[in-house]
């Protein structure tokens, strides 16, 4: 294709050309009366590089087609050439707003394939950190959702608290976002001493901060106007389109992996699954706000009942020996060398493990072929499935509503395109 500076050379694509470009899955009426509007991939409110093709009648959306793939990084394929432990760092990069949940889903799958289970202490720590990640992810969601509706102060208040959580992550894992803290058989290392006071302080101030956010949004008449009755999806539709997470629970379907298929000891915690029945943007907002409070409850219970003991299982074939042993134990040196050059072999077979990520059901399908690398990895990512229901939610809405709806299903493009 040659670039031309002649203004007449700039042509708009016809509907047929657009169809050819988009492939199947796009509904476009192609009516002369409608205006085609391309929203994104560079757009302030599509939460990354999502592109939407809108067919508008005035400002009313007649049809909407999401166009994804601008952030395709080939994570699943790359993981086939990485050893099980090394593949972990790639999972951070999918849902970069809650890497702990991704880590957990992948690590649980690996452990399931290996047939081992983490120590009680490691399990509790995993739960605490995953719930912290849920709060931080919901804070980003609330901030960006409010920013989409132009309530810009909420965004900065949310990021203030998120910074605190990221500081905790840095304290624990050495990284603020790409933590890679959970390892097969346990954790990278035990929690530092400062962890508990820091989290206790967080638990102390966070409920009042959540109340602050709600003061700015929950009963604000403009907020209610913009969110109530917008983007309604019924329970049947939500289930049929495979929605999960708070987006599904906003429609009144009680489905939370933490309760339905408990993992990592979630059955020991006392928490509620917030439910709303309206299925609109406001219901999803209410669900997520309440979920933050429930997460705080889980974190508190985890801290109160944090057992002592090792954080790693006693299996030198999977877990590397501590540094201190390398100086005087030949066996430890051999294990260390083997682990760092070859990794561990996982048995043949496949596993499927799902966890409740902040966005919904995050699942990992893992097939081992007996070697140190997985034969196939596939992730069922909640954003990808939830995005599919965007067209049914948006039809008949206004352009301004589309922005609110995208915000309410809380998508992360890194997770969609993988």
């Amino acid at each position: 294709m040659t670039l031309s500076t002649d203004p007449d050379a700039i042509q708009e694509l016809t509907v047929e050309e657009l169809r050819a470009k988009f492939g199947t899955g796009m509904e476009i009426a192609g009516d002369e009366e409608y205006m085609l509007l391309s929203m994104g991939p560079q757009h302030p409110s599509t939460h990354g590089v999502l592109r939407l093709l809108l067919e508008l009648d005035g400002e009313t959306v007649v049809n909407l087609a999401p166009d994804i793939g601008f952030l395709h990084t080939g994570i699943e394929k790359t993981m086939e050439s990485k050893r099980y432990t090394l593949g972990l760092v790639l999972t951070d990069r999918m849902d970069y707003l809650s890497p702990m949940s991704n880590n957990l889903g992948y690590i649980l799958a690996v452990e399931k394939l290996l047939g081992v289970e983490a120590t009680p202490r490691a399990q509790v720590i995993r739960v605490i950190l995953t719930e912290l990640a849920r709060v931080s992810s919901h804070l980003v969601w609330l901030g960006t959702h409010a920013l989409d509706l132009a309530a810009m102060s909420v965004f900065l208040y949310c990021f203030r608290e998120r910074e605190y959580i990221l500081d905790i992550f840095e304290m624990v894992a050495g990284q603020r976002m790409m933590v890679s803290y959970f390892r097969p058989g346990g954790l990278w290392r035990d929690l530092p001493e400062e962890f508990e006071p820091a989290v206790r302080k967080f638990l102390e101030f966070m409920p009042s901060r959540i109340a602050d956010y709600e003061a700015l949004t929950k009963n604000n008449p403009i907020w209610l106007d913009r969110t109530k009755g917008v983007g309604v999806v019924s329970a049947e539709q939500a289930v049929a389109w495979g929605m999960t997470g708070p987006s599904l629970r906003g429609s009144g379907v009680n489905w939370d992996i933490r309760k339905a298929q408990p993992y990592s000891g979630y059955e020991q915690y006392d928490f509620d699954v917030p439910l709303e029945t309206d299925g609109d943007v406001y219901a999803r907002y209410r669900c997520r706000m309440e979920e933050m409070r429930q997460s705080l409850r889980i974190i508190e219970q985890g801290l109160d009942n944090l057992p002592d003991g090792p954080v790693n299982i006693d299996d030198p074939k999977i877990v590397p020996p501590p540094r201190s042993e390398l100086g005087h134990s030949m066996e430890a040196v051999i294990h260390h060398f083997k682990l760092w050059t070859e990794g561990f072999d996982a048995p043949e077979g496949f596993v499927y493990q799902s966890v409740e990520s902040p966005r919904g059901e995050f699942a990992c399908y893992l097939r081992g072929d007996g070697g140190p690398k997985p034969a196939r990895v596939h992730f069922r990512t909640p954003s990808y499935v939830n995005l599919a229901s965007l067209p049914i939610m948006s039809k008949g809405a206004f352009v301004a509503d589309v922005v609110a709806i995208i915000g309410s299903i809380d998508i992360v493009l890194g997770e969609i395109d993988r």
Partner: protein, 369 residues
């Protein structure tokens, strides 16, 4: 005074006031950025330009950090390449930002800034570019209605779908609040029995109209926010929906002109609100020292700007159909009823029904001048 002297007065004073406003607009942006930052736990611009104060411990203290930021912004805007996208309607594209700025500056003519300053020509009752225009309020209404043309034409000429949507939203917005605006402005006109801005201010001696007519004041304030296209009514530029709406294809100082128009209008409408409801340049001792009028006007303008920025920091944006519903179904009935009530009340007052009540209120609040 002869006609030529009146014209010379308008030219000289208008030139000075326009220059002051251009500087004032630049510092309004700084004020907004700083205040918004403070409301949002940030610092705001604090790098460009400061007054260094050496302290005894050898550490340099910085005073007024960031006060040159508007100059830096202006330089940046002027230095940028002035691009004209292909396939725009060139003439309209060039005219649109000028129209926006023109209307913003033109309203300045009738705003009274102070009372009878020393040195003012004898027949002028107050200090303004064009004092004593007996249809001043009508002039304000006419010019503000023209203001929307800048936005609509910019949206249309840009040959961009987002810009067109922004322009359409601006028109829809304008027709839904203009009626309420006109009806609310009638209230101070009826109370002062004049359309001269100076007479309206003079009529508020002893009693600001905001205390007589809080409903009209609130409705007028909401309408001002809509007229200015500022949050929560900024759907014509709606950064999150239309990326920048009508100004999406504009760059360099052409964009700067839209920006300038918006911020100058912020100042001007704060002043107009002050004139209609906050007693304009009136305040304690203003009759003895007319120069104080300038101070009071400035303070009232800053108060208005503060309110605007505060509202922007707190509220989400309305959808444009909700604004139309709000304008037609809420503001219009409220202002109609209020208008009728005020009309009836004025007749009753003239008949002398409320005399004792007004006197007691005036005694209770004597400082209003």
């Amino acid at each position: 005074m002869t006609t030529s002297q009146i014209a010379l007065w308008g030219l000289v004073v208008g030139f000075i006031i326009t220059l002051i406003m251009v500087t004032g607009f630049a510092y309004t942006t700084l004020f907004e950025r700083k205040l918004l930052a403070r409301l949002q736990v940030r610092f705001g611009p604090n790098r460009v330009g400061y007054i260094p104060i050496p302290s005894r411990k050898g550490k340099e203290r910085k005073l007024l950090g960031g006060f040159m930021q508007p100059a830096a912004d202006a330089v940046k805007l002027f230095m940028k390449e002035d691009m004209t996208p292909a396939k725009v309607d060139r003439v309209v594209y060039f005219i649109a930002p000028m129209m926006a700025v023109f209307t913003a500056i033109a309203i300045l003519a009738v705003i009274p800034w102070a009372g009878k300053l020393p040195g003012l020509p004898a027949q002028y009752e107050y200090f303004a570019i064009a004092p004593g225009i007996n249809v001043g309020v009508l002039y304000v209404l006419a010019i503000t209605s023209l203001g929307v043309y800048g936005i609509v034409l910019a949206g249309w000429a840009s040959n961009n779908k987002y810009a067109v949507l922004g322009g359409i939203r601006a028109t829809a917005q304008m027709i839904s609040y203009e009626l309420a605006m006109g009806l609310t402005i009638l209230v101070p006109i009826m109370l002062a029995d004049s359309m001269d801005m100076g007479q309206i201010v003079a009529g508020q001696k002893g009693m600001w109209y905001i205390f007589l007519q809080p409903i009209a004041a609130i409705v007028f304030w909401i309408v001002i926010m809509a007229e200015l296209q500022r949050a929560p009514f900024d759907m014509s530029e709606a950064e999150q929906e239309l990326s920048a709406g009508f100004s999406v294809e504009y760059g360099s100082m052409r964009f700067g002109m839209f920006f300038m128009a918006e911020y100058m209008k912020m100042i001007i409408f704060s002043a107009i609100f002050a004139v209609f409801f906050l007693g304009g340049y009136r305040g304690p001792f203003v009759d003895q020292f007319p120069v104080l009028g300038l101070v009071y006007t400035t303070l009232k303008i800053i108060f208005g700007l503060f309110l605007m920025i505060w509202i922007r920091a707190s509220l989400p944006r309305l959808r444009y159909d909700q604004l139309m519903a709000f304008g037609w179904k809420r503001l219009l009935p409220i202002s109609v009823i209020n208008f009728i009530v005020v009309g009836v009340a004025i007749v009753l007052v003239e008949e002398g029904v409320f005399d004792s009540l007004i006197r007691s209120i005036q005694q209770a609040i004597p400082f209003l001048g």
